[in-house]
């Protein structure tokens, strides 16, 4: 590679993806509400998508496999957000709170 521009280097994108991934894990541990944890999971999934796109662009530019996997990741993330929303609504109706510390008993 003779390009010196950082936006045309694989390592820039991979480093960004690693940063976002670790930030997402920090958020997953830090947030105490279900919604905050959902947001952090979205951060992690997006980092994975960025990785797929970057590697597809720089290592296998003749194939669209990375694009398709990124699309699938987006779809799964949307489905997951819908499910978590309904779980949050159900939990809030029962416990009057979306705090993970309050939701600590099973029906049994």
């Amino acid at each position: 590679m003779n390009s010196v521009l950082l936006s045309e280097q694989l390592i820039t994108y991979l480093a960004l993806a690693v940063f976002f991934f670790s930030l997402g894990i920090v958020g997953l541990v830090r947030h105490r509400t279900l919604i905050g944890m959902l947001i952090s999971v979205e951060l992690i999934l997006n980092a994975a998508g960025l990785n797929f796109m970057a590697i597809n662009r720089f290592l296998v530019p003749d194939s669209a496999t990375g694009w398709i996997f990124t699309l699938f990741i987006m779809g799964i993330a949307a489905a997951e957000a819908a499910i978590v929303l309904s779980i949050i609504v159900a939990v809030y109706r029962k416990y009057r709170s979306a705090d993970v510390d309050d939701v600590c008993e099973l029906k049994g």
Partner: protein
């Protein structure tokens, strides 16, 4: 001619770094803000930055899909969750030490993965050897090579929709 082309590339680089800043700021807001409304807006900012990265990686189609799905759908869904569940008063009774301790599970895998990224010998194919991909390539691949995955994902969506409706209805009659 080459001069103006060079200028354009420099301008592209500057815009790239602006959006690196935007996405990092969005991610930090999403993770470290106490109010969930702000976290949702941070997520939207972050998704916008990622969409611009996808544009730089040569896929306008995926970039638009990212904007549509993340900013248009997921952020709106999470905003609805914030409105319905109202978790605005997040209890934060942690001390400073515990607050810093939280960073460890993020930093450790980050360091490991960063080490792997630097250490690995990436075999980079020079850009421009192959014709750029288009959305038609995705369609062809999706319905020929990855047809089974496509169908399974459709099934997952169906199950997700039915499951979320049922879970959200649970306990309404009590």
């Amino acid at each position: 001619m080459t001069d103006s082309l060079f200028d354009l590339r420099i301008a592209g680089e500057i815009i790239f770094f602006i959006f690196v800043g935007v996405s990092i700021a969005g991610a930090v807001i999403a993770v470290f803000s106490k109010r969930m409304t702000r976290a949702v807006l941070g997520l939207a900012l972050y998704a916008l930055g990622i969409a611009v990265f996808y544009l730089y990686l040569g896929s306008a189609f995926i970039s638009v899909m990212q904007l549509l799905i993340y900013v248009g759908a997921i952020c709106v869904v999470i905003a609805f969750a914030v409105m319905l569940a109202d978790p605005s008063k997040q209890s934060d009774k942690r001390g400073v030490i515990k607050g810093l301790l939280v960073l460890i599970p993020g930093i450790l895998p980050g360091l490991g993965l960063g080490y792997l990224v630097i250490k690995t010998d990436w075999i980079i194919v020079p850009v421009g050897r192959f014709p750029p991909l288009s959305a038609a390539d995705i369609g062809r691949k999706l319905l020929v090579e990855y047809c089974l995955v496509f169908e399974v994902i459709s099934l997952i969506f169906l199950v997700a929709v039915i499951g979320s409706v049922i879970v959200a209805r649970m306990g309404r009659n009590e």
